[in-house]
Symmetry: C2
Subunit: 332 residues, 2 copies
DNA sequence: AGACTGGAATGCAACGATGTAATCTGCAGT
DNA sequence: ACTGCAGATTACATCGTTGCATTCCAGTCT
């Protein structure tokens, strides 16, 4: 049977509370006593029971990370960084997937405490449907992503600015007929579309709805399907395809290849997120990078503060981005 | 404040224990009483406190999944399936990463209980160094992967047989100078090398150590680096590259492209694992598929049985595999 | 009518850790 | 030697749930 504070206490000849004091370090313990207790813990291989501690303290030292779908490399990479950042703070991590389903998202939020987590980091599905609304009792929660909700803490990425930067740079390097791949009514898609249009406008290039290619989601196959249909529709020449994610860009590479178009000689292609795979596609993708480890660490830091002070006013951390130029783009 | 069994009980005019009986359903409760209690639970938005339950029962309803690195798409996809399979059984999932470090693996095993998990599913780093050894006290654990250890439950994949099948088929379709990419002293690499050699031998083709290309790991960049070095060393013609994983195969595509070799016209390329991305590389990869959702579900089922009966003798489930032919290979 | 049966409901205690308040110890100051 | 006091240690109660043993009750049998 597993050792408890009682066992450690009797081995060391002290009371259980003293053992607890040694463990938590909030009260003074005489060095000699501390040494004896520590020896006892080692001798008995004592490991605290977190269920008991959680029951007593109302804190479990566990947080949940809820992303849409771990099969998508971007989310998987984010999860990797969350796991690392949490481990660095001695926190356990529970994984959840929302699968782009607002219902699952709402359930997670309402059931957070049941799942014995102290708080939740969430990549919200959608602005309209998100369960994060004013006036609803929420567990400590930090949002990450593109949708800005001034109700809760969040780590926010300025998608419009990032895509505008990238598109502007494409224009500077001589691209004129630039398509956007991955449009939808998802708020992140809308933000990216905005950035794309802004860049065109400020360069005096007319926007053309025919070049704004919708796709069901940002997975490679969906993007490839969408771009194939676009290319089949005889849209006239296009010298660049700005994709809403690296995954979509990978699909774009596939579709362009199927249509006999060379990247970057005939068409430049860009992605978004700088996932690991974006560096090893053929050709490697020009994309938008941000520091994922920093996002993870910041989100967890915000969450810890929120747990410590549930009443403080919401904070927003804006994330810098950086353009990464690889050989899927070239000057014209 | 959150409602407890006491609150529900007094609302429904019964004792706390009756509420508990309704929740757990082990004892008979009169339908009328049950209805009243259930109404109370709804009215008060009662959610059981899992810490308390865990303390009382010694079970938390939570399992840990420990994989090497979620940044690697294969592990990310496995995690996705684990999360789904666990959710289907009402289990919570804690994520852990071992980072190919036997020390972290050992720590996870010894600290499993501290982390308040009932059991652990582990993809062991290495046969020699794994902390899973006879005579060591272990929490309930199920291994998944290529290394067979008859000490604990496991879901086992016959790598040698799979690679032998694939290589044999390449030989049948006319390939003769077949390289293996991804060799190392990792037991899974050794198993795959074995299968490759077996297939060559049984076709009467002499094995050639010069065609067995080592790489540090199975990530695309490492594989690309290894294959680039190989191709630079003027090894003579090669008509197929059998890669130890899809990730390595993606690296191979990059290296071959850099050397002006066309896939599949000049060289066929194959992968292993059938990760999502393998279908959307240029060209899409021929690979070895297995049912990842089945692995996840089976591993969790084994773990549940092990938790219920810690003493039973270890079981091993062998996983079927299936070849998936895509356009990275062609007949010669 | 009284004894008996078995299902339904309850009271109590315990899981392990820790906050609170009380007690104890050693030592300085008189 | 005695008081006073701060720091160290302890006893007790409690967090929410559930197993055990007990009690309660309606219905059946003699």
């Amino acid at each position: 049977m597993r050792a408890t504070v009682r066992d450690v206490a009797s081995w060391a000849g002290v009371s259980p509370k003293t053992v607890s004091n040694v463990l938590n370090g909030t009260v003074n313990v005489r060095p000699a006593t501390r040494a004896r207790v520590e020896a006892a813990m080692v001798a008995l291989d004592y490991v605290p029971n977190l269920s008991a501690r959680g029951l007593r303290n109302g804190r479990t030292g566990m947080i949940a990370i809820a992303l849409s779908d771990l099969q998508v490399p971007f989310f998987a990479e984010m999860m990797h960084h969350f796991v690392n950042a949490a481990a660095a703070r001695g926190l356990q991590v529970q994984v959840e997937e929302t699968g782009w389903d607002p219902g699952r998202e709402a359930r997670l939020l309402s059931r957070a405490r049941e799942h014995q987590v102290d708080g939740l980091i969430l990549n919200p599905v959608n602005h309209e449907t998100t369960a994060v609304k004013p006036g609803i009792a929420l567990p400590p929660v930090v949002l990450i992503g593109e949708v800005y909700l001034p109700i809760v803490d969040m780590v926010w990425m300025d998608n419009a600015a990032a895509i505008a930067d990238l598109t502007g740079e494409l224009i500077t390097t001589g691209h004129r007929r630039i398509a956007l791949l991955g449009m939808s009514d998802h708020p992140a898609a809308i933000a990216r579309l905005d950035g794309y249009r802004q860049a065109l406008r400020s360069a005096g290039i007319p926007t053309d709805p025919g070049l704004e290619i919708a796709s069901d989601d940002w997975r490679p196959t969906s993007a490839a399907r969408a771009l194939n249909a676009f290319l089949d529709s005889d849209p006239g020449p296009v010298d660049a395809v700005v994709c809403c994610t690296d995954g979509a860009a990978m699909g774009a590479l596939l579709a362009l290849h199927a249509h006999g178009l060379r990247v970057p000689e005939d068409v430049s292609v860009t992605g978004y997120d700088n996932i690991n795979d974006s560096a090893i596609t053929v050709p490697p993708l020009t994309t938008i990078d941000f520091d994922k480890a920093y996002v993870a660490d910041t989100a967890i830091a915000l969450l810890m503060q929120r747990i410590a002070d549930p009443e403080g006013s919401p904070r927003k951390v804006t994330l810098p981005h950086r353009l990464v130029w690889r050989s899927s783009t070239t000057s014209r």
